[in-house]
C-alpha cells in the first residue's frame, strides 16, 4: 500500500525487538472476542487510478454552480478566489502543520493568525478578533452563550432577519445550557423589533445586517436600547464582503460581531469547511471562545507570536472553559487572510461595489417580470422577491432550465408563512447574460 512505508522485513525485525511473537500480541488488552479475525466487509485497497475514477464519477453526478446561471446565497456565496490563494494554502508547511503549540517552529502559522485577527478587527470595526471559529452559524451560537456568561442572564432574542439555520444552531447549543431562545417572526425589514423584546432577563439581542432577506439596517438604536437594558448586542452576518461597502456591526457599538467568512478565500464546498469570524469589545476578551494569537518577544528580544490567553480554553480550564472548541478553521482562515491581502482596501471596496451593482441589475430585471415584487429595499448583494406561486416549485422548475435562482424561504423556515418568497443573490461572477437567462426562464416558469 503506497502510504505505508514498512516492509515485511521491517515488520519482522521490529516485532522481534518488542518481544512480541505476533502483531496481535501487541493488542493484548483487547477483550477476547473483540479482536476481529477477518477483515471488515468493505472493498479492498485500490490504486490512485481507480480511486480517482470513483470520486470523479460521484462529482459528475452533481451540477456545479458554474455550469448554471447561478443566483444562490443565503449563507454561502459564489465568489472568485484568485489562483494564488489555493496554491499557497497547499504548501506543505501550511497544509501539514499542526496547531502552533511549539511557537519556535510555527511562526508562519502564528504570524498569519495575527494578521488574520488584525484584518478581521479592521473589517468588522471591533477591538479584538479571535483566530476563527468553525463557521458563521457556530460562531453565532458561541456568541449567544458568551452573552449569557457575561450578563448572567438566560434569554437570547433573535430578530426575524437572522438566518433560520443560525437560529436553529444556537437553539440546539443554548437550550442544552438551560438558556431560552426567543426567535421573533420572520420579517424582511424589522431588525428593530428586538427592542420590544428587551427586559431585565435578556442577555442579548442578536440581529443580522445584511439579514437573510438581504436587508441592510442601521443598528444604532438597537445597540443603544440593548445597552440601556443591560443586554449585549450581537451583530451577525453571512456575507462578510458586505463590509467593504456597508457599515459593520462594530461601528454601531455591537458587543460581539460574528458570522461567516467563506466569501473571502473559500469555495462553496457544499457547505464546509468554512471560517467563522468572531470579534468582541476589548473588555470582553477573557470571555471570548476560541484560540487567539498574540505578540511577544523571544529570548533574544525579537518580536514573535504565540497562542495566548489560553486560561480560557478547555485544555487548561476543562469543564470551566469558555467553550469546548479546540480545532479552529486553520487553512480556511489562512485562505481568507491571503485573499484579503491580495484585495487590500482598494480591491475589497471595488469587489463589494461590483457585487452591489450586480444585485441592483438583478433587482431591476426581476422586478420587471410580471407578478414579481422585490421586497428588499436596502440591499447589498442579496434580496428577497415575492412570486405569484410557491417559491420551492419555481426553484425546482428553474433548475430544469439551467438556472439556480435562489432558495425558497420555506426551505429555510417552513413555518415562516412566506411560501412565495425567494431569496436571491448576485455576485461579481454573474454576467448580464446570466441575468437575461434568469429573467427568460422565470417568465417561462411563471406563465
Amino acid at each position: 500500500m503506497r502510504y505505508l512505508p514498512l516492509t515485511e522485513a521491517d515488520r519482522a525485525q521490529m516485532l522481534a525487538l518488542t518481544g512480541a511473537k505476533s502483531i496481535d500480541d501487541l493488542f493484548v488488552d483487547v477483550p477476547k472476542g473483540a479482536l476481529l479475525k477477518d477483515l471488515v466487509d468493505l472493498p479492498k485497497a485500490q490504486g490512485e487510478i481507480e480511486v480517482h475514477r470513483h470520486l470523479q464519477r460521484l462529482a459528475e453526478k452533481n451540477t456545479p454552480a458554474g455550469r448554471t446561471a447561478f443566483f444562490l446565497g443565503a449563507g454561502a456565496y459564489r465568489h472568485h478566489v484568485p489562483a494564488s490563494v489555493d496554491h499557497l494554502i497547499q504548501r506543505s508547511e501550511f497544509l501539514t502543520a499542526y496547531t502552533p503549540y511549539q511557537p519556535e517552529i510555527a511562526q508562519g502559522t502564528l504570524q498569519a493568525l495575527y494578521e488574520f485577527q488584525s484584518q478581521v478587527a479592521q473589517l468588522l470595526n471591533v477591538e479584538v478578533a479571535n483566530a476563527s471559529m468553525y463557521d458563521g452559524s457556530t460562531a453565532c451560537a458561541e456568541a449567544a452563550m458568551m452573552a449569557a456568561r457575561v450578563t448572567k442572564r438566560k434569554k437570547i432574542v433573535f430578530s426575524g432577519g437572522v438566518h433560520p439555520h443560525y437560529v436553529d444552531t444556537a437553539r440546539t447549543a443554548c437550550e442544552a445550557l438551560g438558556l431560552e431562545i426567543i426567535a421573533l417572526p420572520a420579517a424582511v425589514d424589522d431588525e428593530a423589533a428586538v427592542i420590544k423584546a428587551l427586559g431585565a432577563d435578556v442577555a442579548a439581542v442578536i440581529v443580522q445586517s445584511p439579514n437573510v432577506f438581504g436587508t441592510v439596517t442601521d443598528l444604532t438604536q438597537i445597540g443603544e436600547a440593548a445597552r440601556g437594558a443591560g443586554a449585549l448586542m450581537v451583530a451577525t452576518f453571512t456575507e462578510c464582503l458586505a463590509f467593504g461597502l456597508i457599515e459593520p456591526g462594530g461601528a454601531y457599538g455591537a458587543d460581539i460581531v460574528c458570522g461567516e467568512g467563506q466569501s473571502i478565500g473559500n469555495a462553496l464546498n457544499f457547505g464546509g469547511p468554512y471560517v467563522g469570524l468572531f470579534g468582541v469589545k476589548e473588555k470582553l476578551v477573557r470571555q471570548m471562545p476560541g484560540r487567539v494569537a498574540g505578540e511577544t518577544l523571544d529570548a533574544d528580544g525579537k518580536r514573535g507570536f504565540v497562542l495566548t490567553l489560553s486560561t480560557r480554553e478547555q485544555h487548561i480550564r476543562r469543564e470551566k472553559a469558555t467553550s469546548n472548541i479546540c480545532t479552529n478553521s486553520g487553512l480556511c482562515q489562512l485562505a481568507w487572510t491571503i485573499h484579503m491581502t491580495l484585495l487590500g482596501q482598494k480591491g475589497l471596496t471595488q469587489l463589494a461595489q461590483l457585487n452591489h451593482e450586480k444585485a441592483i441589475a438583478l433587482a431591476d430585471a426581476l422586478g420587471a417580470v410580471k407578478g414579481v415584487k422585490v421586497l428588499t429595499t436596502r440591499f447589498f448583494n442579496e434580496l428577497a422577491i415575492e412570486l405569484p406561486a410557491p417559491a420551492q416549485g419555481v426553484v425546482d422548475a428553474l433548475a430544469e432550465k439551467g438556472v439556480i435562482g435562489g432558495v425558497a424561504m420555506s426551505r429555510l423556515n417552513p413555518r415562516a408563512g412566506m411560501d412565495n418568497v425567494l431569496i436571491t443573490c448576485a455576485t461579481e461572477m454573474n454576467t448580464d447574460d446570466d441575468i437575461a437567462a434568469y429573467v427568460k426562464a422565470l417568465k417561462a416558469v411563471l406563465k
Binding site: 502510504y3 505505508l4 514498512l6 515488520r11 525487538l17 493488542f27 488488552d29 483487547v30 477483550p31 476481529l36 466487509d41 468493505l42 479492498k44 480511486v51 470513483h54 453526478k61 451540477t63 454552480a65 458554474g66 444562490l72 459564489r78 499557497l88 504548501r91 506543505s92 497544509l95 502543520a97 496547531t99 519556535e104 517552529i105 502559522t109 498569519a112 438566518h163 444552531t169 442544552a176 439596517t217 461597502l245 456597508i246 459593520p248 462553496l268 457547505g271 476578551v285 498574540g294 511577544t296 523571544d298 529570548a299 480554553e313 480550564r317 469543564e319 470551566k320 472553559a321 467553550s323 469546548n324 479546540c326 486553520g330 484585495l343 487590500g344 471595488q350 461590483l354 452591489h356 436596502r378
Partner: protein, 504 residues
Amino acid sequence: MSFETTSGNRGLLQAEPLIFETGSAETTGVDLPAPKGESKLGALARKAPLDLPGLSEPETMRHFVRLSQKNYAIDLGLFPLGSCTMKHNPRLNERAARFEGFADLHPLQPASTIQGALALMDELAHWLCTLTGMPAVALSPKAGAHGEFAGMLAIKAALEAKGEGHRKRVLVPSSAHGTNPATAAAAGFTVDEIPARDDGRVHLDDVKAKLGPDVAAIMITNPNTCGLFEPEIKNIADAIHAAGAYFYCDGANYNAIVGKVRPGDLGVDAMHINLHKTFSTPHGGGGPGAGPTVLSEALAPFAPVPHIVLRGDQRELVEHAEGTQAFGRMCAFHGQMGMFTRALTYMLSHGSDGLRQVAEDAVLNANYLLARLKPHFSAPFGASPCMHEVLLDDSSIKPKGVETIDMAKALLDEGYHPFTTYFPLVVHGAMLIEPTETEPKRELDRFADVMIALAERVNAGDVQFFKMAPTLTPMRRLDDTRAARQPKLRWRRGDNQAPAQAAE
C-alpha cells in the same frame, strides 16, 4: 559562530514584516472590472475606516511563502505529537476535494443537482458505520469537540425521551482530553471525575463506586490518553448500561484500532471520529477538522438534522427537526463536505485490508520506539505493550535538572517537532509520542538515536544545553507570560510599528 546580518535574513530564512508594515490601502493584487459607482445604500454606506493593506500578487506570494518556511510540517519530518495522529496527508485527497463537482457546489442547491454529493456522504457513512460496527452516524459535526457535543446531546435527548432528564452527572476519568469535561459542561451536565490509578487505566470498581440514578453517561477515551487499550472496557460498558446510563467513547485515538476492533462490539453508544486524525485530512495549522459521530441503536433516532433519505432512486435532505426525534442542528449546513471527500478518498485507497494494516503498523511503530527508548527513559506503563502512542515521563531526567519542556525544546534544534508535553495530566512531566504508521523504520531509528543521545547528554550533566534550547530555530523560546499579561492581539495604526523592543 552566531552573528547578526544586515538584512535580518539568515541564509534561506527571510525576515518578514507584517502585511500592515509593507502593504498599503492603495495597492491591490487583483484586477477587477471598473464599477459604475451606483449605490442604493445612502446613509448605510461604510464610514468606519477600513485601512486594510494590499499587496501585489508577487509580494503576496513572497510574504506567505516566507512565512511558510518558518513552520515545521509532516512533509518535513516525523511529527510525533501524541494524541494528534500526524500522519501523511495524501495529495489525491486534495485533488478529489477540488473537483468542480464538489468544490463548486452550494449547500442549498435543489436536490436534483446534488445527487453525487449526497451519494458520497452516504458512502462515507457506510464506511464509518461498517468500520465501527455502529448503525448510524451524524456527519455534520465540524471537529472532534463538536462531535463530542453531538454525542452528548444525543444522550441527553435519549434520556429526556425516557423521562430521565434528571440524570445530570457525567463521569470523566482524570486522564481525559480537556474537551471531554468542557463538552459535558456545555451540554448542561455536571462533571464527576474518576481519579487516576497508578496503572493508567480506568477500573471497573472505580466506575461502579460512582454509579447512581443521577448518572447520565461516562466519557472514556479508548485507547486512552496514556496510550493503553482499556482492558475492562466491555465490563465498564455493561455496568454503565445496567445503571441506565450511556457510554460516550472519545475516538481521538481510533487510529490504533481501525479495522482491528469495532467500538460497537465494546458497548459504545456514541463516538466521534476525527477525520483529520485517523482518516488523514490535513491538520492545516489548526483546522479545519471534521468530527462525524457514530451512534448506537438507542441513540440513532436522535441524530441531528440534516438527515439523508432515499425516495425512489433519489436522495433528499431532511433539514428540519420538526416531525422527527432529532435533537436539533449542529451547524448551518451539512458538515465538512471538503473533509468527507478527502476521508472517503483515503478509505477507498486503503480498503479494508489497508486500514487494518494502518492500525497494526501504527501500533508496531509505537512499540518499536517504546522498546528502543525504554532503557534510556522512564516509561511509566512500559512493562506491557502500548497501542499507537508511547508514554514517557521526565522522572529519570528531572533530578538532573532537565524537564519535559527542555527535552522538547532540544528536539527543536534537532529538527523535530516534539512529542506532546505534559499530557495526559495524570502522569507528571508526560512526554507522549505518536509516530503513526506512515513513518519508515529508518526515520524511527533516527528519532530514537536522537532521543537517546539527548538522554546521554542529560546524564553527562549538560543542563545548560537544554535550558538554552532552542538556538537554531527561527525564534528562540518565546515569552508566554508577557503575551498573556500585556495582550497585544492585533496590529493597530499608531502602535509602535517597528518590531517591539525588549524591555530593558
